[in-house]
Subunit: 399 residues, 2 copies
């Protein structure tokens, strides 16, 4: 039985935690399993390296930045391997380049192109635990790259896909919950969740695993298991379909995303070109638009949208550069509350139940967007947590 | 004009020092020179990495230790490259594996087998400063290795040899002095010193450059220049022969090596086998024997020798395991004072002047060894510094 395990930065933050991980691996090896381990940099190492680079250059050269940052993971793999060998488990650590994790040339945000599994399989045959640095890659020219934040999850899933096995992701979070337990104390931990729901539950998922890794797992149908490396509690399986014996919930989870900005532009000429120009200039200035609402009234367009980053001046300047005389309002800050569930597709009436919760609680929806498996609403900040609680009640997300 | 420069750990210990090195390189580049830079790990990084590894395992796995330690140099090269690019100098950093510094498989003390200079030359043609991690290597199997303590000097000299150019070694020491200026305040800085004298002056040289690097420089006739990275002072050239216009001194320098142990074994049977056995067992137990004196008296051997490491029990146990009933005395600790000079070969009477200094100052020689270019004497600790001063006077080592 072969399994890929990934341990996040908090799981290897110090000597004691590294030994804890080594002992967890030891148990599995003694159980007859073959293990490939992917490790992140220890604790805050990556942040510390970024800080020193930024103290030398405001915009450090990307190639050299990757040269710098890959050291974080290299330190972790070496120390974990030292720990495993110390407790009598044969282990060998490898940088990404040593197992040919080939990536694009996009320094600081490279994408994996291919992995040569030969060396990994050869070492596994020798009954070694194979420890591989997450987050790293190498280009065809032999330059070191990194996969961007959360890249170690992506490394782990890509290796699991290549080895045709499942992938266990260990962190300081013990699984995926229906809602944030800090807001909804009786939020349920999910035993299973689909890739699609996990992707939509991004604000919950981000703490557990990176959405890029979930996309990759979905693409190659890699079963993911998320659990805590500190406590022995059952975690959450992320899979393509829930097991047949499980009744599919209508709504899988609900989330709050904080600090959204709302922009409204009234009385736009009824001309599609102006909309394209506005969105183009915002995109050029790296403003991430999230929810969009457009309606026609009195032979004019009225446009509202929300953005994630609070860059008032950039947004104003961008819009004015396209159409200097527009009536323009900038309102911050709101929260976005969403419910997500693949089950919504086959259950009519979810939207009406959603809006009933809003109206019953006198919460005004500032913006609304819907997809097949998600409904999101922008509300004033002081209403978001109560809305989450009420939605959790309505859709049975508590235990 | 192509030159190889090496900056030691203290020269890149923090952000300010890295920027200082970058500016020094910038001046040379603007002067039209092509530069290959070899860098050590920042300040105490290597020691810190060793400490964390040793906290996990008393005897960390050597392959994994090298995986760990190579990160120190990788951080330095990345930061120096970021600094150079920041001040407008094109630079690219490389780990040893990226420029094919091929070594033996002896983890933690690998030896360089070959360097492929193609990539270095290609980057130099593009007018990039080429920054290479010192201390590192890679085996034919793709495992990372390190060259042992002081290995960065060896990397620099090997690369200079391959590129057929000279090598500048920058550290916090501004050159090679005739004696330790802390003991002999008017000690002269040498403008030139031969490889042979430099190798013999190990205790002076060790602070400036590693003897392995000097051996390599001698073998490939690489001119070395040692200077400070902090002050603009002329340093010392290490060369095969002094320039013709320079009068060769009889004695180039004098040194004190502290903390030597003296062992005496009396009344050994006059049998060569017992000597071989004693030296074999000491060597097996990694006792480094330095000076040896043997004399025959009353049909018996009387043996004295000095060792560098204070391992009384190991030494006693070793000798007793060979010959349990030997008369054995363990005396510590002494200092070793030496004078060195290639010029001694052609100047008779140096030994007699040396012993005259001893007798004039009532200093008893406990052990004496001589070579063609060196005379060493073991004396009691409280006499070593005065002896050094008197030797400096006698052989004109002050300014």
């Amino acid at each position: 039985m072969l399994v890929v395990q990934k341990y996040g930065g908090s799981s290897v933050a110090d000597k004691e935690k590294i030994l804890n991980v080594a002992n967890k691996i030891k148990k599995r090896v003694e159980n007859g399993e073959k293990i490939v381990v992917i490790v992140s940099a220890m604790g805050k190492t990556t942040d510390e390296l970024i800080n020193i680079a930024k103290s030398i250059s405001k915009k450090p050269h990307p190639r050299e930045m990757d040269m710098l940052l890959t050291t974080g993971e290299q330190i972790s793999i070496a120390l974990l391997s030292i720990a495993l060998n110390e407790i009598g488990i044969k282990a060998k650590s490898f940088n990404a380049f040593q197992v040919n994790i080939l990536t694009t040339h996009d320094f600081t945000k490279a994408r994996i192109k291919n992995i040569n599994s030969k060396k990994i399989l050869k070492e596994l045959e020798k009954n070694s635990v194979v420890i591989i640095a997450g987050f790293q890659g190498i280009t065809e020219d032999g330059d070191l790259t990194t996969l961007g934040r959360g890249g170690s999850d992506t490394s782990a899933v890509a290796i699991a896909a290549k080895l045709n096995t499942s992938c266990e992701i260990y962190s300081d979070v013990d699984g995926v919950y229906t809602c944030d337990p800090k807001i909804v104390p009786n939020a349920k931990k999910l035993k299973y969740i689909t890739y699609d729901d996990m992707l939509e539950l991004s604000s919950l998922g981000a703490k557990v695993l990176h959405s890029r890794a979930v996309e990759l797992a979905k693409k190659y149908n890699v079963k993911l298991y998320c659990a805590s490396s500190f406590v022995e509690k059952e975690g959450t399986w992320v899979v393509s379909k829930l097991p047949e014996w499980m009744e599919e919930p209508v709504v899988t989870g609900a989330t709050v995303e904080k600090n959204q900005i709302k922009i409204t532009i009234n009385d736009l000429p009824e001309d599609n070109k102006i909309l394209k120009k506005i969105f183009d200039v915002l995109s050029e200035n790296k403003i991430n638009i999230d929810m969009i609402s457009l309606f026609t009234y009195n032979n004019a367009f009225h446009l509202s949208f929300s953005v994630l980053n609070d860059l008032k001046e950039t947004i104003e300047d961008s819009i004015k550069s396209v159409a200097p005389n527009l009536k323009f309002s900038y309102q911050g800050t709101f929260d976005k509350v969403s419910i997500v569930g693949v089950g919504m597709k086959s259950s009519p009436g979810v939207a009406s139940r959603f809006f009933e919760v809003l109206s019953k609680n006198d919460i005004i929806p500032e913006l609304v967007t819907t997809s097949e498996i998600k409904i999101s609403v922008l509300v004033t900040k002081n209403k978001s947590e109560i809305l989450l609680k009420k939605l959790a009640e309505e859709f049975d997300l508590g235990s």
